[in-house]
């Protein structure tokens, strides 16, 4: 038998081994559905584990430690000048972080009987696909899940054919530490990776097209981070575009709007990510793809093809791993006939810079834009005992509350540990808690989490 003729029949074919794909496959297995994952890299974890969340957080941790060590001089602790071995850092990231988690996922897949097939999946109709590449075969499925994720977006017109122009994926490999790095894009990827390279010793220049960092996020949450990166980076140019980019010897010659041409050793393009829906053979199915290349789904993650579902970045904003994971679990339950739905109110967002910025639910900015009346409670960390002991009083915690019912509609926080702190805000909004509920819950002292309680209390004054 020729390999290409092999037809495998499964309950569920998952296309893509990222967080959305593996969450779906694992839950399918729990529910008694046989699931296989087709993944181009024949591995589980996807961009999150190999090119995104995990490696970037590993590197950011290094940056945070360096920052802490530097600040430790303030209270009399001096380790001298840091010396960084990029080789050792890469090894640690690849083996102790990514490798360890990858082995863990592979182990879970084995124990649940989820096969991972290496290759590129191309749909042939609504009930079948072929796998091209490493392990060619045909798969007939009862259900398929498109979980192909997203890829870094490129800048039209600036596609300089130079390996010195990086996207987030290549930047996370840390091939070297460039002396001068230009980051194009002031969103979370640009800020996180800019922070990493600055900590590693690069002089970082950041260019952002709009008038502020982290476009769309409440300005008061961005401000402490903006202050920090203004010190950390060599230059930040807002309201600015890069107009030309060309290779010039070992460097890149970059023309920045309103400024003289400058030379950089590397350029990081961090202008967002795009859904990967092309090349999947979706035209042979009834799956509908919108003008932004997102696969169109309903709240049960069903596409317009009754046999095909989709989860994660390929279905559009917000492009976040934890949203994909939740959708993966929902879709498995939907396929098993359970009354599941992705009706989540909040998908928390975290920028893992130093300080971290996190928010969820309704933001003050969105409320203003929508003309919705809200009460906003803010607590500066200046008065926080825990913040003082950390030497970090630059944080802020805020709650966005419905003025009539007192219900928590949104939450935001900036400061060290904001990514962990936002969980309470997310729980409050998701469970429709009232500010009073938050205020009446005892929070351990002294912790940064007390700031939620304090913010809620300010809303209850006089009540």
């Amino acid at each position: 038998m020729v390999m290409g003729d092999l037809v495998r029949e499964v309950d569920v074919a998952v296309v893509g081994g990222g967080p959305g794909g593996y969450s779906a496959a694992f839950r399918c297995a729990e529910l008694g559905l046989e699931a296989v994952v087709v993944d181009a890299g024949k591995r589980l974890g996807g961009a999150c584990l190999y090119e995104g969340c995990i490696p970037s957080k590993a590197l950011l941790h290094v940056a945070t430690v360096m920052h802490e060590v530097e600040r430790a001089r303030e209270f009399g602790l001096d380790y001298g000048e840091p010396r960084l071995s990029v080789d050792a850092l890469q090894k640690w990231k690849a083996e102790r972080v990514v490798g360890k988690l990858a082995r863990g996922l592979a182990g879970v897949a084995r124990s649940r009987g989820v096969d991972v097939i290496g290759g590129r999946a191309v749909f042939e109709d609504s009930r079948g696909l072929r796998v091209e590449g490493e392990e060619p075969q045909k798969i007939r499925f009862k259900h398929a899940i498109i979980a192909t994720g997203s890829a870094p977006a490129t800048l039209p017109g600036l596609a300089a054919a130079s390996e010195r122009v990086m996207d987030s994926t290549s930047a996370l490999e840390v091939v070297d530490v460039p002396e001068r790095l230009l980051v194009i894009g002031g969103g979370y990827i640009g800020l996180e990776l800019g922070t990493v390279y600055a900590a590693l010793g690069s002089q970082v220049t950041l260019v952002e097209m709009t008038d502020g960092l982290l476009p769309g996020v409440d300005r008061d949450l961005v401000q402490p981070l903006a202050r920090r990166v203004e010190k950390l980076f060599t230059a930040i140019h807002l309201n600015t575009r890069v107009t030309a980019l060309r290779a010039s010897g070992a460097r890149l010659e970059v023309e920045i709007e309103g400024r003289n041409a400058q030379g950089f050793d590397r350029v990081l393009v961090a202008v967002g990510r795009r859904p990967q829906s092309a090349g999947l053979g979706l035209e042979t199915t009834r799956v509908r793809v919108d003008e932004r290349a997102c696969v169109v789904i309903d709240t049960r993650c069903r596409t317009s093809d009754p046999h095909i579902y989709a989860v994660g970045d390929v279905t559009g904003e917000p492009l976040l791993a934890h949203r994909a994971m939740r959708q993966g679990k929902v879709v498995a339950e939907v396929m098993a006939g359970r009354p599941a739905a992705f009706d989540n109110v909040v998908v928390p967002a975290v920028v893992f810079t130093d300080p971290e910025v996190a928010w969820c639910g309704l933001t003050e900015t969105e409320a203003q834009r929508a003309g919705r009346a809200v009460k906003v409670a803010k607590v500066q960390w200046a008065a926080s005992g825990r913040a003082a002991t950390l030497g970090r009083s630059d944080g802020l915690t805020k709650l966005v509350v419905d003025p009539e019912s007192g219900r928590v509609l949104g939450a935001g926080v900036v400061g060290p540990g904001a990514g962990e702190l936002i969980a309470e805000g997310a729980l409050a909004v998701e469970t429709a808690a009232l500010a009073e509920d938050v205020a009446a819950t005892i929070h351990a002292h002294p912790t940064l989490s007390e700031s939620w309680m304090e913010a809620a209390e300010t809303l209850l004054k006089g009540a």
């Binding site: 008694g32 559905l33 009354p339 109110v345 019912s405 007192g406 219900r407 509609l409």
Partner: protein, 422 residues
């Protein structure tokens, strides 16, 4: 404008109370906290003080009456010296404040305030959260709100709808009594498929669960020698056919049951546990269980006691046909006082049916068979019909059931007695 004073929540799970005495008269002007009435609950006799000052406009209750929490007891005209008196806490309105019901959906069309677990419950029960009024602080929708909404929508759906419902969200059956534990995940042992219940199946399931949970069933067994009756049926079959009627045993069963019910009216009744009363029905509408390919349906023949046998037989044939064709009207299906289920055509030696709630008894009939029976010391072949009388033990005891069944047996065994009534 008058204000209503309703029986307040008496606590301790008490839902009703008996009015012992009314301590005020219409037209009286009373002050807040003045005693209004004395009531007795199953726990104690208590005096209920007035929550407000004002003139008693109307007294809605009288001593001896049992009233439920929330029932209007007294209407007050607007207080004459209302300005001087601190407004008493507004009494709970007698009727649910339907006009105040606001949709749980936020004004901006945002998410309905409910926890993820509650939202999941709503999906399970097929309840649209947007239409549920949240009762928790801040308008949050609770599990109880969702369950109540599920119950109320069930109440308004038209019974016996003929068109099969389109496949929609899963809708659980109305719960009865104790909540059964959640089902295991059958998928862990092999593949499963889920099939929604048809409207009729749901109705049957809910009615049977209700009956089996509420009624303490007791069954009495008996057998009737219908050799003679069978002979009569055979002899008159052709004559009846000549008049366009198919004479069956069931027509005789109807007649026999109707006659026996006259003598034992407690089996032609319903129980009103809330009132502590038995409702004896002065009419005799008998249900006949009919198996259709869609499920069990029980059409009702009215005034069986007053109709001649041939008319019963004719009506029975026409009704059974209407039911099997799915053309029975709502009136064909309700108002029964007692049910007969004849499974003889399908064989078996006996069955214990479930009472057709809110009736209190049901007669089960299996297949008549020739059996060796001892008559006057001789073994003879007789056609014996197995009968079961299942009845509500709350309205009758075993001895009553035995006598009632014996009367039916006697009428079937002595068609001459029956003849007098035909």
């Amino acid at each position: 404008m008058s204000r209503a004073f309703v029986l307040p929540d008496l606590g301790e799970g008490l839902t009703e109370a008996e009015i012992v005495s009314v301590l005020v008269h219409e037209g009286d002007v009373i002050r807040e906290d003045a005693p209004l009435l004395e009531v007795e609950t199953d726990k104690a006799q208590v005096e209920i003080p007035s929550p407000m000052s004002g003139r008693v406009e109307k007294i809605h209750v009288q001593p001896g009456q049992t009233v439920k929490v929330g029932a209007v007891l007294i209407s007050f005209a607007d207080s004459t010296d209302g300005g001087a008196v601190r407004a008493a806490p507004a009494p709970p309105a007698a009727a649910p404040p339907a006009t105040e019901a606001r949709p749980a959906r936020a004004r901006d069309g945002g998410p309905v305030p409910a926890t993820p677990a509650t939202r999941r419950l709503a999906r399970e029960l097929g309840v649209d959260l947007g239409g549920v009024r949240g009762t928790a602080p801040g308008g949050r929708v609770t599990d109880e709100d969702v369950r109540a909404a599920a119950g109320s929508t069930r109440g308004v759906t038209a019974p016996a709808a003929r068109a099969p419902a389109p496949p929609v969200e899963t809708r659980p059956l109305a719960p009865v009594g104790v909540e059964p534990p959640p089902l295991p995940r059958f998928e862990q042992w092999g593949p499963v498929e889920r099939a929604p219940l048809s409207h009729l199946r749901r109705t049957i399931a809910e009615r049977m669960a209700l009956s089996a949970s509420v009624i303490p069933h007791v069954t009495h067994f008996d057998r009737a020698d219908i050799t003679e009756l069978d002979a009569i049926i055979r002899r008159t079959l052709d004559a009846a056919r000549g008049r366009g009627v198919t004479l069956t045993l069931t027509s005789f069963l109807l007649k026999a049951a109707a006659l026996a019910l006259k003598a034992h009216p407690q089996f032609n009744a319903s129980l009103d546990p809330a009132a502590g009363e038995m409702i004896l029905k002065r009419y005799c509408h008998l249900g006949i269980a009919v198996a259709t390919d869609r499920g069990l349906i029980v059409p009702v023949i009215r005034d069986v006691d007053r109709k001649p046998l041939l008319e019963l037989a004719r009506e029975l044939g026409a009704l059974a046909q209407r039911v099997r064709e799915g053309k029975a009207s709502l009136d064909d299906l309700r108002g029964g006082t007692f049910t007969i289920t004849n499974i003889g055509a399908l064989g078996g030696t006996g069955a214990i049916p479930i009472i057709n709630y809110p009736e209190v008894a049901i007669l089960g009939v299996a297949r008549g068979r020739e059996e060796a029976v001892v008559r006057d010391g001789q073994i003879v072949a007789r056609l014996m019909l197995p009968l079961t009388l299942t009845f509500d033990h709350r309205i009758a005891d075993g001895a009553d059931g035995a006598r009632f069944a014996a009367d039916i047996v006697r009428l079937l065994e002595h068609p001459d007695h029956l003849l007098l009534e035909l």
